[in-house]
């Protein structure tokens, strides 16, 4: 008898869809469902969430039966620096102001690559900030404060 194996890629994929479907289904149950003729806010998403769970189940069955491509490398370092960059920009754009915030955002993102040297990162971020100032702040006059209240006395 063939040993029971499950394909990693599709197994995780199925789990993800079932989890997301479950999340939306649970949330929908907290809303008014209504009937097919007078749908409440929860009706349509509940139907979709159930479909998503079912599709996840189909993928799970496939995962048991077939083997697919492996997941491969994961960009841990990339995730560590790339994903926080926009979050940082969001947290600081009003407090620090547009220019310091964009400078630091670019700097953080720079460190996602092992090839980037600190000096290059600084120069790159500075150039970017200058460009952003000239184009967005000066020429287009976007209503962003260049330096925010955190930097003022």
């Amino acid at each position: 008898m063939k040993p029971f194996t499950i394909d990693t890629t599709n197994g995780i994929c199925a789990a993800l869809f079932i989890f997301l479907g479950g999340f939306f289904a649970l949330q929908s149950l907290g809303l008014e469902i209504g009937t097919a003729f007078r749908m409440g806010p929860g009706y349509f998403p509940l139907v979709l969430a159930i479909v998503l769970i079912l599709l996840g189940a189909v993928i799970l069955v496939e995962a048991v039966r077939f083997e697919s491509e492996p997941i491969g490398h994961v960009a841990w370092r990339g995730m560590l620096f790339i994903l926080p960059a926009p979050i940082f920009f969001g947290l600081t754009v009003r407090g620090l102001g547009f220019l310091p915030s964009i400078f630091l955002t670019a700097l953080i993102a720079s460190f996602a690559s092992g090839r980037m040297r600190p000096l290059t990162a600084l120069v790159l971020s500075a150039c970017l900030t200058l460009f952003a100032f000239l184009v967005f702040s000066y020429a287009l006059g976007l209503p962003f404060r260049r330096f925010g209240p955190w930097l003022q006395f």
């Binding site: 003729f37 349509f44 599709l55 993928i59 995730m79 790339i82 960059a85 969001g90 720079s110 690559s113």
Partner: protein, 502 residues
Amino acid sequence: MELLDNLALGFSTATSLANLGFCLIGVLLGTLIGVLPGIGATATIAMLLPITFQIGDPVSSLIMLAGIYYGAQYGGSTTAILINMPGESSSAVTAIDGYQMAKNGRAGAALAIAAIGSFFAGTVSTFLVAIFAPPLTAIALQFGAAEYFSLMIVGLVSSVALAHGSIVKALAMVVLGLLLGIVGTDIYTGTPRFTLGIREYADGLNFVAVAVGVFGVAEILRNLENEHERSVMIRRVSGLMPTREDFRRMAAPIVRGTIIGSALGILPGGGAILAAFASYTVEKRVSKNPGEFGKGAVEGVAGPESANNAGAQTSFIPMLTLGIPANPVMALMIGAMIIQGIVPGPNVAIEQPALFWGIIASMWIGNLMLIILNLPLIGLWVKLLTIPYYVLFPIIMAFCSIGVYSVNTNIYDLYAVAFFGFLGYLLTKLRCEPAPLLLGFVLGPLLEENLRRAMILARGDPTTFVTRPISAGLLFIAFAVLVIVFLPAVKKKREEVFVEEN
């Protein structure tokens, strides 16, 4: 001959030196800002709109605004092709095969094909707007909630063709997209849904944030995976211009794309969005080598780009003839008109013929300028790819942060970028394609809204979908597409394709 007189009036208005100048500035600015990574058409227009308010003459300011619109759209396609970063829903389709072409070293050809397709579509649809604006408007008004719902169903059924892997995964991505699209306040009851109590998401997740996340950020992460083992961005650029073979292959898709785009573009609300997706589906269906799609098929760039531009053009029809915005960009145009002292409505063509026909004529001139401007610039854009990737991606991240933030100045949109970047990367690793998710995301709210509205209007009678002729016709098309997809012979052919792929 009234038409010729009108067009003559339009061209004499649009070709005044000042107006040509404003058109050029608009196209140029639109392209330059739109081509910045992560800044698509909507963000570009939101940024540049206030500039047009400062022009005193309403005709000039609208001509410039229209120029910005085409420029931004083309700029958005450029980033979709070069770095897989679509700035709006229609260029998400261009990204599928355009980016693959760029990876194969054919970025120049892809950009040229996009430009040529856009120009052809722009030319044809400008004349369509001039000739058919009033009758087409009448057709658009026949579309009620039931028709829209059926149209969305056609779009969804066709979306299976967007996938080039497992159909089940593609379907799951569409459904997930639909669910994500529903996030926000339910317009029927005012109930916030799936917002996790965050009021900043009450109006739904921002499209730009989702698109930048699942396409752009995920792509950056993928490129960062194997940094140490090999240089990721080796891209030998072979020839900037399309080959004779390319021209042969793109002709028919451009024509088909133009027809699809012109037809769907006039529908207010979502029509233009569907055009690019529909065109891709059609091209993949009629192609002799559907397996090439998703790997850099010329047709997959030429068709959707033409459809996209034709749709953009004909979406002016409801605005000019009814004063109704077909999409957010048109809503901005109407705002600009009102500020200039023109209230758009059914009388604009009669009361302000110079304005009405001037804008129509300037559409064509704008498209002409766009192609003259962009063909030489292609070399420059392609050069961007020779920038080392580790220098490029901090730039991308900085610009997309600015772009996403500038749409609504909502910082939660930036958090959404990070979340969808992670989700997009995860899904890519699990071999799920992002394009169907994006289609679902755009269609989700429309589908639900129109389904529920149709039911209210029909007093809860579901036969409304089949008793209304246009709706019934659309559902028949959807059914036909399904049959074709699952017909044994076709299915077998599909499976053969997958064998080839593996």
